[in-house]
């Protein structure tokens, strides 16, 4: 199942598998796929989904950055 398979398949170490799966999944399902115009029905406390998607993506990049910085510091 998607919660415990190797979806993240992380070559970059330091992620929790399920955390990585969620980040990568959001990256795919929020912005891509077949769309029937005007028929997307999502609400998050009145925040536009596109705005939320960008924040979520930025969040995942921040996590990646932290791991890279920790790796660099360890060299």
């Amino acid at each position: 199942m998607i919660t415990n398979d190797n979806k993240g398949d992380a070559i970059l170490s330091g992620f929790q598998d399920d955390e990585l799966s969620v980040f990568e999944m959001l990256d795919h399902i929020l912005a891509k796929g077949v769309v029937i115009s005007g028929e997307i029905t999502i609400s998050v406390a009145d925040i536009d989904l596109v705005y939320l998607g960008v924040n979520v993506l930025a969040g995942s990049i921040d996590t990646i950055q932290q791991i890279l910085q920790a790796r660099d510091a360890g060299k």
Binding site: T3, I11, H28, G33, V34, S37, I42, S43
Partner: protein, 219 residues
Amino acid sequence: MSLYVYCVTDEPDSDTPLPPGLQERMPRIVSEGLLNAAVSDFDGKDLTPAKENIFAHERVIEAFMDRSTPLPFRFGTVVAEATLREFLDKSAPVLLADLEKVRGCVEMGVKVMFAAPAETGAYRSGTEFLKAKRRLQDFQRETAGWVEAGMEGLIRLTEVSFVPISTKNIVTIAHLVLRDHLNEYKSHIEALVLERTDCAFLRSGPWPPYSFITTPRLG
């Protein structure tokens, strides 16, 4: 009652049971012409991108991935059945062409992260902006080029995008990989990681072909 839409395929309906979808509803098939859409009944008008909903969406689509390569709908597609049928009817030529394009493939994602800062900041002229855009596109192509080198015969298509952030450059690459060559593809990326120590990699997948949908948005 509305329908939540997961994916569409041109494969015949199967007796294989599907996992529960959103709101714990069992998916079923709506057929229109040559197309079969996986849907489940949906109550209400609000849908949050919570973890359980996201996993339910992906779980149903991936059940189809075990049989064929469907076209995934974007998360949060809720429609009346008549609207879905009209969409499938009007979009059939494009959807069928997309299904042919992705047949026998899965999507794999590769993020390549560079230590060098991304080029950001205000541009003093339109020419300066366009030159910067050209450099960015060249950088994307160059990155995709060396990632793909030696993978002839393993991938059918590539999509590249660039995420500029303050301290790192990240190029996001989606590959449409032939299922029969998935292990070779993974080995290739693993070898690349050992070879290119100047950047970091994040490989993910296999995914439904989210990045390779060219379906027009019909109202």
